[in-house]
């Protein structure tokens, strides 16, 4: 196997995972801090990757930092906020070309590792606070980002459905937090949050690429080794197995196309076999252009352009979403549930099941061809205490039986329906005006 995974503990709660494959032309390094989603801290945490991205102690000037990246052949330095299960993920990453392509013999990979280390561990904090001007800008940007969640109506609908579904649990907390909380953060409070996270977060460092990971490992070993850390134990919250009474919410907006998201619980996923069955079932149900939802809701009924199911193995939630005309929503909802009942009743052919299996296996076998898909795959594995390769997962999926798929669909219960409805009546024609 050309992609050997190596994993080392660099300091308490700090792990370094490397995957080397010479076919790539780049090296990618990411550092993720994982911290529990909490109402009190989520917003202040969310500003940190963007504040760090502004510059380090060594290079506090954003423009100079960007120029350094140009000199590293356009290496790309990113800051990101995500969430998985009950955890918030704060990530800084860098990707640069391999040294063999450098025109003047520079070491791009060493430069990238050093820069990323400086950005994360040597921030421009002076007297216990981030610089006032940087802070104000990033605070406003965070507020804009939180408010911009209505811009993408599909993502907004899915997020609202998830939040309603998990009301009262950490899973309902939005990854960027709230506008009111963002207004309350100060440059000092952000610096305190930073210090606390560096002390307590679970840290996962990934190196994926064609070059040697040794330099990066030594760099981060030195940087983290100098810290006296107190990491908080990492535990993913248990899965909610079954829905209670269906929660429903409709919000009206000035939009052309209405959107609906339906959140389902998928039962007890106590062992790997049940998990595999749930994954394959959701593929068969709505994961491809030959799935039940695509063929019966889109192609046969011509109700929509998209209607798909996705399954999150961390939360055990299956989510179906669709863009549909307001008046067709009841028909769409009925059709979506009808297809689920059909799968649970075993009303599908062996050929359909094998098609779903082939498509899923094909997507698994594509994972080793991308730097970020590899990182995403193994990070997800590591968080659940596994080291399974995509190929091993493909072999497990090959073992799932028809009966297991039927049982998996039978365990599915509808939890929440969120409907983003266009305001009644024909939406106004676009107003365009010329200056």
């Amino acid at each position: 196997m050309s992609q050997e995974l190596n994993r080392a503990e660099l300091a308490e709660g700090v792990s370094f995972t490397s995957i080397r494959d010479r076919k790539f032309k780049h090296n990618y390094i990411s550092i993720s801090l994982l911290t529990p989603l909490e109402e009190e801290t989520v917003t202040a945490n969310a500003i940190l990757p963007y504040l760090l991205r502004r510059g380090s102690k060594n290079c506090p000037d954003f423009t100079k930092l960007e120029q350094t990246l140009c000199e590293l052949y356009g290496a790309s330095l990113s800051a990101d906020v995500g969430k998985t299960g009950g955890y918030q993920l704060l990530t800084c990453s860098i990707v640069g070309i391999d040294d063999r392509f450098a025109l003047e013999g520079e070491s791009v990979s060493a430069g990238c590792a050093r820069l990323l280390g400086e950005i994360l561990l040597q921030p421009n904090i002076i007297d216990g606070a981030f610089p006032e001007e940087d802070f104000r800008l990033e605070q406003q940007n965070l507020i804009d980002t939180i408010q911009a969640d209505i811009n993408d109506k599909r993502a907004y609908t899915v997020n609202q459905c998830r939040a309603l579904m998990n009301e009262g649990s950490p899973l309902a907390i939005p990854k960027y937090g709230w506008v009111e909380k963002a207004r309350e953060i100060t440059p000092q409070a952000a610096a305190e949050r930073y210090a606390r996270l560096i002390d307590t977060a679970k840290v996962e460092i990934f190196f994926v690429g064609c070059g040697s990971p040794d330099g990066a490992r030594e760099e981060f070993s030195r940087l983290f080794g100098a810290l006296d850390r107190h990491p908080v134990p990492f535990r993913l919250p248990p899965i909610v197995e079954k829905a209670g009474a269906v929660k429903e919410k409709t919000v009206e907006m000035e939009i052309a196309q209405s959107k609906m998201a339906m959140g389902f619980r998928t039962g007890a996923l106590a062992d790997k076999k049940q998990m595999d069955a749930a994954k394959l079932m959701s593929y068969l149900y709505g994961g491809s252009p030959f799935s039940r939802l695509f063929v019966h809701v889109r192609e046969e009924k011509s109700l929509c352009y998209y209607c798909a199911a996705r399954f999150d193995s961390v939360t055990g939630v299956m989510l179906v979403d669709i863009g549909v005309e307001r008046e067709n929503q009841p028909a769409a909802r009925a059709a979506i549930l009808e297809q689920l009942s059909a799968v649970a009743a075993g009303d599908f052919t062996d050929e359909e099941l094998e098609s779903a299996r082939r498509a899923y296996v094909n997507s698994l076998r594509s994972v080793p061809d991308g730097l970020s898909s590899l990182e995403g795959w193994y990070l997800a594995q590591i968080l659940r205490g596994s080291r399974l390769t995509p190929e091993e997962e493909a072999q497990d999926i090959a073992q799932v039986s028809r009966e297991q798929v039927i049982a998996a669909a039978g365990a599915v219960t509808l939890d929440t329906v969120f409907f983003l409805a266009s305001k009644p009546g024909e939406p106004e024609k676009e107003e365009e005006s010329h200056e």
């Binding site: 032309k25 780049h26 963007y50 640069g96 800008l137 196309q257 252009p289 076998r365 676009e430």
Partner: protein, 425 residues
């Protein structure tokens, strides 16, 4: 069969160009170590192809906006079933897309490559449209159009193109409108198909995990030489001036979104491809993240992390665009136009030029590292008339400051700019 190997000394890689007896050009780039094979069968037709004829017809036909995209959807339906259902038997992940000037049918797979390729070549070679299936598709595409009607980024882009261009069909939405697609008939679809889907107007590109013999044997089996089709377009007489300097629309968004566009001096496809490479470097120097202007705009809160640039280039059109969120888009326009004028008068900073050239070079190396981007690049270069896609790297490496300054004057002239804004409703 005429075969030619084209190599890149910089990357130490090569691809194979084959002129197949059927009239199709086939470009093949096996990539060692990859699990996936990615194949694209593409026709040089897109939303800009609205008025055309061939040697077979007397008169030009003017087709409804969105027909190339409609045709792409309809190609998946065959007389013996749906193409997706056929791919279901091989496990390949299939898709298609239509852009301004091309339509591509593609799949990626990690096994059963030959079977999937056979499906691809077969269904794209056999059109099958009936009034009933056309009507069904009007419902689905109607929902796709409605989805884009709510997409602020998409709306701001097409409002901008409508402001920059008077008559050039690049101003039309790729999917058309619910009204325009209602006029599409199976006869019109056949006419488009028989005009643009002749093998001489198409290209097959494959990258990743496969053997060239598998492709050539499959092509021998499926493809038949057809009549040579000579396509004529009625070129829209587009003035140099923009249609409107400002356009706005209201949608449910949190902060205003804008696109600022500069209508460039468009040449033929190959010229425009080269200009696109140069203009991307220019946009980075003028207001990329490493520029002083970006810093001023960011620090004064006029732009945020969503700010980005893009060059749109194809047959008869070339425009440079900056876009993102801003509370005061007009001030952003003013600042960028002022900086463009200053740079045109005072010249481009040689150090910024060197730096941005280096970063673009690194970015272009990146395009050769993924199977899907290699297949797309081979297709894009071929349709633009560039035989050797690796020359893109040479373009960047050999670019000179005087050439960049010429492009600055011709492609970033504030007199030919327009601003499109989507305001919160």
């Amino acid at each position: 069969m005429n075969k030619k190997s084209i190599t890149s000394p910089i990357l130490g890689e090569r691809f194979l160009r084959v002129e197949h007896p059927s009239g199709l050009t086939i470009l093949l780039c096996p990539m060692e170590g990859y699990s996936t094979a990615y194949a694209m069968f593409s026709a040089k037709v897109g939303s800009i192809d609205t008025t055309f004829k061939t040697q077979r017809e007397e008169d030009f036909v003017e087709v409804p906006a969105g027909i190339a995209h409609f045709l792409e959807h309809k190609m998946f339906e065959c007389d013996d079933g749906d193409a997706f259902a056929k791919y279901a038997k091989t496990g390949a992940s299939a898709n298609a897309f239509t852009s301004f000037d091309r339509t591509a049918y593609l799949f990626s797979c990690t096994g059963n490559f030959r079977e999937s390729l056979e499906i691809l070549l077969d269904f794209v070679s056999r059109p099958y449209f009936t009034p009933e299936t056309v009507q069904k598709e009007q419902g689905i595409i109607g929902q796709e159009i409605r989805m884009y009607d709510d997409d602020p980024g998409w709306r701001s882009l097409f409002n901008l193109l409508g402001a920059l261009y008077h008559v050039n069909p690049v101003r039309l939405d790729i999917a058309g409108t619910t009204e325009s697609i209602a006029q599409i008939t199976s006869d019109l679809l056949y006419r488009c198909y028989h005009t643009f889907y002749s093998l001489g107007n198409m290209v097959l590109t494959v990258a990743g995990n496969f053997r060239p013999e598998e492709v050539l044997e499959t092509a021998d089996k499926i493809l038949r030489k057809g009549e040579e089709v000579r396509i004529q377009w009625r070129k829209a007489e587009e003035p140099r001036e923009v249609a409107a300097p400002y356009v706005e629309q209201s949608l449910s968004v949190s902060t205003p979104l804008f696109q600022l566009g500069f209508k460039g001096e468009a040449g033929d496809s190959l010229t425009n491809l080269r200009r696109q490479v140069v203009d991307e470097i220019l946009l980075e120097i003028l207001c990329g993240e490493s520029s002083p202007l970006y810093r001023r705009l960011y620090d004064s809160g006029l732009i945020n992390g969503t700010f980005e640039y893009e060059v749109l280039a194809g047959r008869d059109y070339l425009c440079c665009m900056y876009g993102g969120e801003s509370r005061e888009p007009k001030k952003v326009r003013e600042a960028i136009c002022q900086e463009a004028r200053r740079m045109a008068a005072e010249g481009i900073d040689p150090d910024a030029f060197r730096r941005c050239k280096k970063s673009t070079y690194g970015r272009y190396i990146g395009m050769f590292s993924r199977v899907e981007s290699v297949a797309s690049l081979m297709m894009g270069a071929y349709f633009a008339g560039l035989e050797n896609m690796y020359e893109l790297l040479d373009y960047v490496r050999d670019l000179t400051l005087p050439e960049l300054e010429t492009r600055l004057r011709e492609d970033l002239d504030p007199r030919y700019s327009a601003l499109s804004v989507v305001n919160p409703a």
